[in-house]
């Protein structure tokens, strides 16, 4: 397929990379050991950290933040959405199976649909309950996700614009969501749902004010 010289050169390259990775291996091994713990108490920093401008223990630590949960009505909203979703799915399933198989097998379809719906309902509830947010002086913190738990932090001086939105059902429950947009991400970089409208608007004011002062 290739010039044989190329192939041998390529294999040599692999050999070389084996050599230097095996050197790294020894170093990496003792490295990761002392880094599994937090930085040392005596103030020395891990060696993958050089020339730090601030010692890590002096930094504001996001992991010790006090966070607040979403509004309780947001959990009901999430569950309501799950119910609506499954209502539509079941109608579609019934119609679809009528068309495809000329008959509808209730003893298979109903338990299957029901169990999936219950699973989704529980997951939606859980997903709504694990969402938490916090606002610091210079950034906004948001965590979400049941299986992949993500903690997102958006510095306020990188926010390009802010949006407060309300869906039709949100309106009934007095809820709103806040979207922050920063550069380089097509969609919103951070979306915090389940806030009260006044809270969302206060946050928007806070963020806009922050931008003016810096």
């Amino acid at each position: 397929m290739f010039n044989p010289n190329c192939v041998t050169a390529f294999l040599c390259k692999i050999d070389i990379s084996i050599d230097d990775t095996s050197i790294n291996e020894a170093e990496d091994a003792d490295q990761s050991d002392d880094l599994n713990a937090k930085p040392h108490a005596d103030g020395t920093t891990p060696s993958a950290f050089t020339n730090l401008k601030v010692a890590p223990q002096d930094l504001p630590q996001a992991s010790t933040l006090e966070t607040s949960a979403m509004e309780s009505s947001y959990v009901s909203l999430a569950m309501a959405f799950s119910l609506i979703r499954w209502f539509i799915v079941s109608i579609a399933a019934i119609c679809g199976s009528e068309l495809a198989f000329d008959s509808f097998y209730p003893w298979i379809a109903v338990p299957a649909l029901l169990s999936l719906a219950v699973l989704d309902l529980l997951l939606s509830r859980r997903a709504a309950m694990v969402k938490r947010y916090a606002v610091r002086e210079h950034d906004v913190y948001f965590e979400s996700g049941v299986f992949w738990h993500a903690q997102t932090i958006q510095p306020l001086n990188r926010v390009q614009h802010v949006e407060v939105g309300q869906g039709p059902i949100d309106k009934r429950l007095g809820l709103a969501h806040l979207q922050l947009f920063s550069s380089g991400s097509g969609a919103a970089s951070l979306k915090i749902p389940g806030l009260t409208l006044t809270r969302a608007e206060d946050l928007r004011e806070f963020i806009l004010r922050h931008r003016e002062t810096t």
Binding site: A48, T50, I153, R158, G184
Partner: protein, 499 residues
């Protein structure tokens, strides 16, 4: 606004509009395949010539109308453009949002000494201005206006830039690329896979005539097939493969030479200037402070030659990932020391090879190998039980072993290091990739954890700058949190702009 302020382009700009139309046509070549097929079916020569003439006239008329409706205006702080035939469109590009300015000298403008001024916006995509067929003096005047306006309004000027705000026209030569480098670049970067796809699509059309041709020659192909030994078939397939490889590589080298011929990179204290191109001489100016990341790109073939491509990335909008985009400044086929020197022009970092990297947990490797093993086992079982291939069903095994080996190297290499304001991520399996970012340009940070990772105190770290998101999975949680806190501190407390 009164009409006197609006300028027209020179008449020669019709050439630019024709070229632009043709370029769009070629870009949509796949949509045109039915039309091309239809044309190839026309039997009479006269009708063919007629169609050719009519479409040429149509293209020219279209370009003339476009030229007729095109008006532009340069004010003290913005470029305004009105264009469009049916849908009038007015673009208002403020100088403060200008990302790059480039001067293009396409081959058809070169004898006329005209240039096309292209201004990219840092804002949304499609908001760019092309002023065609300007004379050189006018283009440079507009360019200087944009530059001085930009420097005047720049909110944060670094110490090194203040003394150089005026009169740093004389740049320092940084690097040039000879023909040999471009051939290497073409060899190692198969930009011609699109061409390969086109050949593949076209092949089915060639197959039928080919078969009838063979019938005419009186060769009984099926009889031959029966006699043909397996080895002969393999030789046939192999030579076909080699041939297509040669074609693709040739196209790739040609593409590289067309794009980068006469490559020259010049740096002043605040800007980088690139000159390149065979048919279209292009001069691109890029502000150093707008560079978001420096990416050392080394694929396995680059690794053989000990070369890499250095890419300076600017703000991107996801949809814009064309290899030739002006938002990414590519320096083709440089060596590591050259790449280090160039990176130092833009980002004050040490040599990425010299750092010690924080590796990722072995659990990443275990997870990936387990996934691979599961997939391979099920594939082998499926081949054995369903397709009943017997011993042949073990065929995926060598591939799986090879993939596993690559996974191992990838895991070995994956790592991150922090030096002052710089974060460097190392990755890649055979070739090495380094991505250097400045922490004060962080847009967002993310820590991601699954339930199993939390139990093991591991966490994936994602650092987003305007050009890309760097993800380092399975880091020790303490380390990931420290990097996040430190990066945020740099972004929030330094008060430096990301632009």
């Amino acid at each position: 606004m009164s009409d006197e302020l609006w300028h027209r382009l020179l008449g020669w700009s019709v050439l630019y509009f024709i070229a632009r139309f043709l370029r769009q046509l070629i870009a949509n070549i796949f949509a045109l395949i039915p039309a091309i097929y239809g044309i190839s079916r026309i039997e009479s020569l006269q009708i063919g010539i007629m169609i050719g003439l009519v479409s040429t006239i149509a293209v020219v008329v279209y370009a003339v109308i476009q030229y007729n409706y095109f008006r532009y205006q340069v004010t003290d702080d913005a470029i305004l453009v009105r264009e469009g035939i049916l849908f009038r469109k007015q673009t208002n590009l403020g100088f403060e949002r200008v990302q790059n300015v480039s001067l293009d000298r396409p081959f058809y403008f070169r004898p006329l000494k005209l240039v096309t001024l292209k201004v990219d916006s840092a804002g949304s995509r499609g908001e760019e201005v092309n002023l065609a067929a300007l004379n050189e003096f006018e283009a440079i005047r507009i360019h200087d206006m944009i530059r001085t306006a930009r420097q005047g309004t720049a909110p944060y000027i670094h110490e090194e830039e203040t003394h150089a705000s005026k009169g740093d026209v004389s740049g320092q030569f940084l690097i040039d690329r000879g023909l040999g480098h471009l051939v290497l670049h073409g060899l190692t970067n198969n930009r011609a896979w699109i061409a390969l796809a086109a050949i593949g699509a076209g092949f089915s059309q060639f197959a039928n005539p080919l078969r009838s041709y063979i019938d005419v020659l009186g060769i009984d192909f099926s009889a031959m097939l029966v006699d043909a030994t397996i080895s002969m078939l393999i030789a046939l397939a192999f030579s076909a493969l080699v041939l297509s490889m040669i074609i693709v590589t040739g196209l790739s080298i040609a593409g590289s030479i067309f794009a980068y011929y006469g490559y020259e990179l010049i740096g002043t204290a605040t800007r980088l200037t690139v000159r390149r191109g065979l048919l279209t001489h292009r001069t691109i100016h890029m502000n150093k402070s707008r560079v978001q990341a420096s990416h050392y790109q080394q694929d396995w073939l680059d690794c053989v030659f000990g070369r890499l491509n250095l890419v300076f990335e600017q703000v991107s909008h996801q949809t814009n990932h064309a290899a030739d985009s002006d938002r990414r400044l590519i320096v083709p086929s440089v060596t590591f020391p050259e790449a280090n020197n160039l990176t130092k022009e833009v980002i004050r970092a040490g040599n990425p090879e010299d750092y010690h990297y924080q590796g990722v947990s072995i659990r990443l490797l275990i997870r990936n190998l387990c996934t691979l093993a599961t997939l391979t086992t099920s594939l082998v079982l499926a081949l054995h039980l369903i397709a009943e291939l017997g011993a042949l069903s073990l065929l995926p095994l060598p591939f799986a072993l090879w993939l596993g080996l690559l996974q191992y190297y990838r895991w070995k290499r994956l790592g991150i290091t922090i030096d002052g304001n710089i974060a460097i991520v190392r990755k890649g399996s055979i070739g090495v990739h380094y991505i250097v970012i400045e922490l004060h340009k962080l847009q967002k940070t993310m820590l991601i954890q699954t339930f199993l990772m939390r139990r093991r105190q591991l966490s994936s770290l994602a650092l987003t700058v305007a050009s890309r998101t760097l993800v380092v999975p399975f880091l020790p949680q303490g380390y990931a949190e420290t990097v996040r806190d430190y990066g945020l501190y740099q972004a929030e407390a330094s008060g430096r702009s990301w632009m």
